[in-house]
């Protein structure tokens, strides 16, 4: 291969009861999926503040995945309903400020959906790879590291 393929960095914020267990199932089922995702496990999607997403981008992620239990299946009965509203608002806010909504993905994956998890990681990685590195944000990060101009 003459040209190296772009390998995106993707951060996944997942809830421990569904998606993390789903990821576990994918692992114990020996399913192969793209190695680009770093998983951060949280108690519930309701715990996932939009600040986490901004923080991931601030630290150089090319994409973010947020995933939790299907509606109705939340371990805490309604954490994911709260999260869903928050995502809807946050997504339209990012869209309005010019951040591509394609960079931040959301999904519901249950503990039984190991294969869905593997497929999703593959497709998300593919999508972000097509979008390429998050140059707009990388430029901002670079600016923030250089001394301020007066």
């Amino acid at each position: 291969m003459s040209e190296q393929q772009f390998e995106p960095n993707i951060i996944a914020f997942v809830c421990t009861y569904c998606t993390y267990a789903g990821a576990d199932l994918a692992g114990t089922s020996r399913l192969k999926y793209a190695p680009n995702v770093r998983i951060v496990r949280l108690p519930c999607t309701g715990r996932i503040s939009p600040m986490f997403i901004l923080k991931a981008l601030q630290k150089g992620a090319d994409g973010v995945l947020v995933s939790g239990c299907h509606p109705g299946d939340c371990h805490f009965t309604h954490g994911n309903y709260h999260a869903r509203r928050r995502w809807m608002v946050f997504r339209s806010l990012l869209e309005f400020t010019g951040i591509s909504p394609e960079r931040v993905k959301y999904s519901w994956i249950s503990a039984a959906e190991g294969s869905k998890f593997a497929d999703l990681i593959n497709s998300v990685t593919e999508d972000i790879r097509k979008l390429g590195p998050f140059d707009q944000y990388q430029q901002m990060i670079k600016d923030a590291q250089s001394p301020a101009t007066l």
Partner: protein, 276 residues
């Protein structure tokens, strides 16, 4: 003028009879078309009160000043309809007890000021519902429309350009009646969520975070927009988010003191199209 005189008399009576301990209103500012907040505790000072179409600042933020309402005495305040919505939100978020607030409502068209009937927040519920019903018909600001027509990259560039002027003075936060947190997220440094240097990244994060925290709470009083020393059109983001919660959740902020905050409640059938 008639409205101003009428209110001066009312304020005098209320202060003299001790039914309110303080009235928050407007007095002349540094130029003829500027007003500054006025806090009066004695009926003798009521003549300083000014009320005309240039009284645009939303004063409701002063109500949550530390200790002001803790003696359970009543406080009077001059409010436009947006201001009444703000205190409804503050009451819904348990920041104040509505029974302690005496409202002197007013509104203006052109240079004409007219009083709004009522003294308690519940007297204005019909007025606020009307405003909600009429809000979709109000024509949008041309700039907001042009931003919505832009593509992603153009929008990104537009906001980067605007935010690049931000000096992180946090005047928007100080002026906002909704920003009452004892410790703001930008002031917390363990962990440091937002880059505090005034580089575009930190500026972008700060403004996005503030807009998110105001989603479904902002009443578009314009305090932040007027406070911004570098004229970032902050109202546009907040307007867009207010539209979003109205379209998405039929939520119009500040309708009543018992309205559930939009991001602290949910419906099982909230409809989205983007979750995989």
């Amino acid at each position: 003028m008639i409205t101003q005189e009428k209110y001066r008399t009312t304020v005098k009576e209320l202060l003299a009879s001790d039914s309110v301990k303080m009235v928050i209103g407007y007095k002349p500012g540094s130029t003829p078309d500027r007003r500054r907040p006025l806090f009066i505790r004695s009926s003798d000072d009521a003549d300083q009160l000014v009320l005309d179409s240039t009284c645009i600042t939303n004063l409701s933020g002063y109500l949550v000043a530390e200790g002001l309402l803790s003696d359970e005495k009543r406080v009077g305040i001059f409010l436009r309809p947006e201001g009444i919505r703000s205190i409804n939100i503050l009451a819904a978020e348990y920041q104040l007890n509505m029974d302690q607030i005496v409202i002197f409502g007013f509104d203006s068209t052109g240079r004409e000021v007219r009083p709004l009937e009522g003294r308690h927040s519940k007297d204005f519920s019909a007025l606020l519902s009307d405003i909600k019903e009429n809000s979709p018909q109000i024509s949008k600001e041309p700039l907001l429309e042009s931003i919505e027509r832009m593509n992603e990259q153009e929008r990104f560039d537009f906001w980067q350009e605007e935010f690049s002027r931000c000096i992180k003075c946090y005047a928007c936060r100080q002026a906002c009646p909704m920003c009452y947190c004892r410790r703001c997220i930008v002031d917390s440094n363990q962990p440091q969520w937002v880059n505090t240097s005034s580089h575009t990244l930190g500026n972008f994060e700060w403004n996005v975070v503030r807009a998110f925290h105001l989603s479904g709470r902002c009443v578009q009083c314009g305090n932040c927009d007027r406070a911004c020393p570098v004229n970032i059109p902050l109202r546009l983001i907040n307007q867009r988010m207010a539209e979003m919660v109205l379209e998405g959740f039929d939520h119009f902020a500040g309708l009543s003191p018992t309205q559930e905050p939009v991001l602290a409640s949910f419906k099982k059938d909230d409809t989205e199209t983007f979750i995989l």
